[in-house]
């Protein structure tokens, strides 16, 4: 205590000395005067400093919470997903390659291959169908349409994003499924129906990211190309699209990630029969549709439940894989 007082006195002396020493009087300090210098205030952290600590603390706490959340989600899914293999002794290789799915019947009937194949088929087909349309729309919006026209189109595309997936599923069930049934026969449920529904759902995602990709192409490339005697289309085809390719690929992968993870709408039109799909119009099931349709029918801790967690784990791993791909392409695009 004594020492602290001593220090304060010293500080006061120093302030006084400094005030006396100044050759050109500082207006503000002069007003305060040598003896009025508030040493207490000078030695304690200011209000701004305390705000700084608060701000840092708040953001750090928020980040910490999210990190804990992410780690526990992944941990929970991993523990339950792996229990199929550790507690129920299902052969992981069989899980990935066998097409017998009836977890209630025992550990030899946990084969997820049909769902894996269907999930990938639906994802791939919808991306293949949607990408040309998305690129065409994006090109029209960035290269041809007037500013007002492109704003209007942007609004329409955003509207498509905003429609809930259950509505898409309902539309698919009411329109697409009967349509396929009438044309190709069969039930109408299956990969084709899911592809068509997912096409509409991923189209806005791919489109808006492709628009960003095309807008990011510097204008001087376009001008340089036109000045060399290229037509508008030649410029688009040979320069703009080529420069934007890495980012367009990223857009497609984001679209695929959305298609891969979509559950409700797919479940409504895919038919939900865990069979290896032999064609595009026979009922089948994806990883997600199986999860949504079966999660209410199993008891926690039993093999059928653990098997569903394994499917969830697989979905999680795929999501990580898509993220990884996006980063990989992004890094290549920078070069």
């Amino acid at each position: 205590m004594n020492l602290e007082n001593n220090n304060k006195e010293n500080l006061k002396d120093v302030v006084n000395q400094a005030l006396e020493d100044q050759t050109i009087k500082h207006v503000k300090l002069n007003k305060i005067g040598p003896d009025k210098a508030n040493v207490d205030k000078l030695t304690k952290p200011s209000k701004e400093t305390r705000q700084e600590y608060w701000g840092k603390g708040l953001t750090a706490a928020a980040i910490l919470l999210i990190i804990i959340l992410v780690v526990s989600i992944i941990g929970f899914i991993a523990i339950h997903g792996l229990a199929t293999f550790t507690q129920n002794h299902v052969n992981p290789w069989k899980f990935l390659t066998s097409s017998d799915w009836d977890p209630g019947a025992g550990k030899n009937f946990v084969g997820a291959a049909p769902m894996i194949v269907t999930s990938f088929a639906v994802t791939l087909f919808s991306a293949i169908v949607a990408t040309p349309f998305a690129i065409a729309i994006a090109l029209f919006m960035t290269e041809y349409a007037s500013k007002r026209g492109s704003k209007y189109l942007q609004f329409v595309v955003e509207l498509l994003v905003g429609i809930p997936s259950v509505v898409y599923g309902f539309l698919g069930l009411t329109i697409v499924v009967p349509f396929i049934r009438n044309i190709f026969g069969g039930t109408g449920f299956g990969i084709l129906a899911a592809t068509l529904v997912l096409f509409v759902m991923v189209l806005p995602t791919i489109t808006s990211l492709t628009v960003d990709a095309l807008k990011a192409v510097p204008d001087h490339y376009r001008k340089a190309s036109l000045a060399l005697g290229a037509t508008h289309w030649q410029t688009i085809y040979r320069v703009v699209l080529r420069v934007a390719t890495p980012r367009i690929l990223t857009a497609v992968i984001f679209g695929m990630a959305r298609a891969f993870g979509e559950a409700l709408a797919v479940q409504m039109v895919i038919g939900n029969a865990v069979l290896m799909p032999s064609n595009l119009i026979s009922p089948s099931a994806t990883l997600t549709s199986q999860l949504t349709s079966q999660m209410g029918n199993t008891v926690m801790g039993t093999l059928p439940n653990n098997a569903l967690w394994s499917l969830a784990l697989l979905l999680l791993i795929m999501a990580l894989f898509f993220n990884f791909l996006v980063r990989l392409i992004g890094r290549k695009g920078e070069k």
Partner: protein, 255 residues
Amino acid sequence: MVDNAGAIITTKDVHLSYGSHEALHGISLDFKENELTALLGPSGCGKSTFLRCLNRMNDDIPNIKITGNIRFEGKNIYSPKMDLVWLRKEVGMVFQQPAPFPFSVYKNIAYGLQLEGIRDKELIDQRVEESLKQAAIWNEVKDDLNRNAQDFSGGQQQRICIARALAVHPKVVLLDEPTSALDPISSSEVEETLANLKHEFTFIMVTHNLQQASRISDKTAFLMNGNLIEYGPTEKMFLNPQNQITSDYLNGRFG
């Protein structure tokens, strides 16, 4: 001022306006073949705008109105019958910002040729080498033709752009401040390249750099506020300007 004979581009009373704002108030200039003409003037005087009229790069700007008469080899370039692709092939352009496409050097140079539909690999190879040599960059890139053109320095990139413009064998090359985005060493490289080429092509160059104009141009035109103030041989203009405003500008009193 300049006799009409030997003029490759003639412009007569060119007016240009954006909406209600008139940027060029009637400019008449003749550009002689195989000479380098510098367009000088303070910022915003309309010299770049005028330059872009010569290969119709202003066409896309909304609300733009161009009147007057611009003839390239006697043909009215604003006539509806004018083939824009042909015009831009004959009248090439190099921009302020070095803008090679992010492809290989070879593909950059071959770009214009491929647009023309030339598929003969040998001819393309030959033109690539020829134009890179003309742009005085062959020795620096000949071992790296497949490297991305953007890996090179600014001055090298700008010379690659010049080579790209030359590869399609234009008659006229428009240069819009080709060295103002470059450091002094790079810009002197580009300048030297232009000085060596100026008797094979017709160059029309917008520049802010008075010394550069005096060093390499044959003719100089001085523009201000959308008007042509003075036009003549560079030497005469710099040593003995006819107009007081020109003299003030060249002596750095303003601009």
